[in-house]
Subunit: 215 residues, 4 copies
DNA sequence: GAGTAATCGAGACGGTACGTCTCGTCTTGTT
DNA sequence: AACAAGACGAGACGTACCGTCTCGATTACTC
């Protein structure tokens, strides 16, 4: 992902300001690590706060002092994984798209990512606060991949410059839903592998479609 | 959905054959109805077997006699909703696709559908049996919408006949993942509405892309 | 026990009178046998109607057609064991008493007897109908051992004839409570064996005490 | 009962030693009180852990944290009642025995005592751990009444000093089984009242018998 | 370097749902 | 009618987590 991005996912801050024993930064890291490990072993729905605490060598109180509940903890534990996604410069828009699709699929095929992502998305269907946290911690951050990709293609002359910024936004959202949706659906619902051949055919479909939108 | 489809989702059958009191068909229906009602009120993760039983006017034992656990029950309760999807004949492929996209979005915006679908998909990331049940009860059944749509477009002359049946299958799968994935992502992850304008732009993208695949 | 005693313990009779298929006598016997077997294996509190039915090769309905509940069934299944008790003629009152005490202890040390007897007595503390059934099926039948023993001792001249029949009854009850109570307490509460030495010392205590009552 | 006796019945202690929130002593007391109340209202076999918890204003978990099951809980709840038994000094052995017999009968006629005592004794026929708990919490504690009574009678010169301590123990056990057994059988099995007249006649029988043993 | 205040581990607490078990009744078709 | 089979409503079982609450014991800043 684009570097220099400020970390938005962090445990909620201590209330007041100054005095008293400061929170252990080691504990923070150990908890997030333990959460990911527990996700791998148990999956989202069987993960328990007590198990995470035990793995992290920490008391349950220490978890609840930082995160209000399991959902928020899991979002934060997983969000950092998405920061690894980067837009490679492979010389052409098509190659760049194929590269991102394969990266994204690789990420989704890791057990901790897929079980956590779908778990929190499922919870978010009934929990507005959680949905907001997912959007800010994960979705909006990924969307930059689309924006940067288009900008780079425009610099190469592969895509025309957008004139209407509103239309540009609409297209960003559409393309993002198509790319992320197709990969997620392929991996998690259809449960079929995303290999180079699939990535190539998907990219062909996508870029032809985008061309029709712009033209 | 295509009519005449046999119902595949049903509680597991009594073991032997003939003797003893037969299971109540009313109870079956009441339980599935109660499950959907409970999904609307509580969401997937807060739905409890006891609550479903109480709503259905049935003992908990009666639930467990038919379904091994909450996941399987919810899959069956929701699968029937997808049977409502139909491929309308609006005179052109583009109109047909727009129609199906809007129907699908409407279905996903119902609280019982979205919370249940994501809930069971999340569970299925750690449960192969559940994933298989979802595929047979939901995914494979929906895929016929793509097959029928292409056949109809070919009859109209909007699409060329496929020569290689393997390529046809691959394209069916790709198109299905793109359509279902984009709509699901739009509705559940991006949490933006699927209106006629979005459907039109998505269809434009999709059909241009399909044209490139075939041509 | 005294022979020629009419069997008082039997399943409740069919309601009306004549028509329809007659009840299976084999089932009656199989059920009582199965009840005793289940008592040995599981104890009173873990014995279940379904288990008894399965052991007897009979449907649960068949049990409930004959006995109102588990307590009544167990009383009947066990009562018959007490019919084995007999008053041997060993030539002297002391020897007769020792013999009966040892017989009774042997009976109580069988697992089916002890678990069943205490189980139903425990239930009877809250169930008048059950207490009545226990009294008629077990207690009153055993009491004849005391009556017969005294009569025989009087015939031998070991005990004086009672003049007041009311006093005789009172003494019968007292002696019965002392004998049965002491043996039951020794075996079930103190959990110590009733051997010949204990029987001799108990008999010495008892007969001296009886002498004081009569003299 | 003899005063100054240390309370031996208590919930199982927390495992380790020092850390963590200590167990609530109020909860302990409330649970034992609630258990006795539930015994009175429902009897042993219908008493449920959930009902006890509700009466005590305590969660079910709190019960299971202290007692492994209903039997152990009931033993502890009832054992304390037997501590009330005392050996009165009425000036003669006969009077003392009559007093204890009447006290014991009064205790056994209370519904919570009789239903609980027989209930746990019944269970103990299949449960060695429970039998051991009953012996240590109830039986052995009561036996001191016999020991103290004999010592006092010897001090008064009503009974000879025992020379052989083994014989003394054997007689203690025998007398205890006779006294406790007779009263329990009279009250719970024969279901007849223990009044002053019965106590007088029983004491006459017992003391004459004891005299024969010693002489 | 004494106080103060928030941290830490541990584990008990009141709740609630789980999935299993048994109860005693009922509904089938068969004998 | 009685029978075997087994579904049914009811509700207790003992376990597992939840998120909160005491405890006593550490830290760091502040005075």
């Amino acid at each position: 992902m684009v570097s220099g991005m400020p970390r938005s996912t962090c445990p909620e801050p201590p209330r007041k300001g100054r005095t008293g024993r400061p929170r252990s930064a080691e504990a923070d890291a150990a908890i997030l690590r333990a959460t990911r490990a527990s996700l791998v072993d148990l999956g989202f729905s069987k993960l328990t706060m007590a198990d995470v605490a035990a793995r992290a060598g920490v008391a349950k109180t220490t978890l609840y002092r930082r995160w209000a509940n399991k959902n928020e903890l899991v979002v934060d534990a997983v969000a950092v994984l998405f920061d690894e996604l980067e837009l490679p410069d492979r010389g052409s828009l098509a190659s760049d798209v194929e590269g991102v699709v394969l990266q994204f699929a690789t990420l989704l095929e890791q057990p901790e990512t897929k079980t956590a992502l779908m778990g929190v998305v499922a919870e978010s269907t009934c929990d507005d606060a959680l949905r907001a946290r997912i959007r800010s911690a994960i979705v909006e951050r990924q969307k930059r991949l689309v924006v940067d990709g288009r900008r780079r293609a425009q610099e190469r002359g592969e895509l025309p410059r957008e004139e209407d910024p509103r239309a540009a936004d609409r297209n960003t959202d559409l393309v993002f839903d198509v790319v992320a949706g197709a990969v997620v659906h392929r991996v998690l619902v259809s449960a079929e592998p995303v290999d180079e051949e699939w990535a190539r055919r998907f990219t062909l479909l996508l870029l032809s479609g985008i061309g029709a939108l712009s033209g």
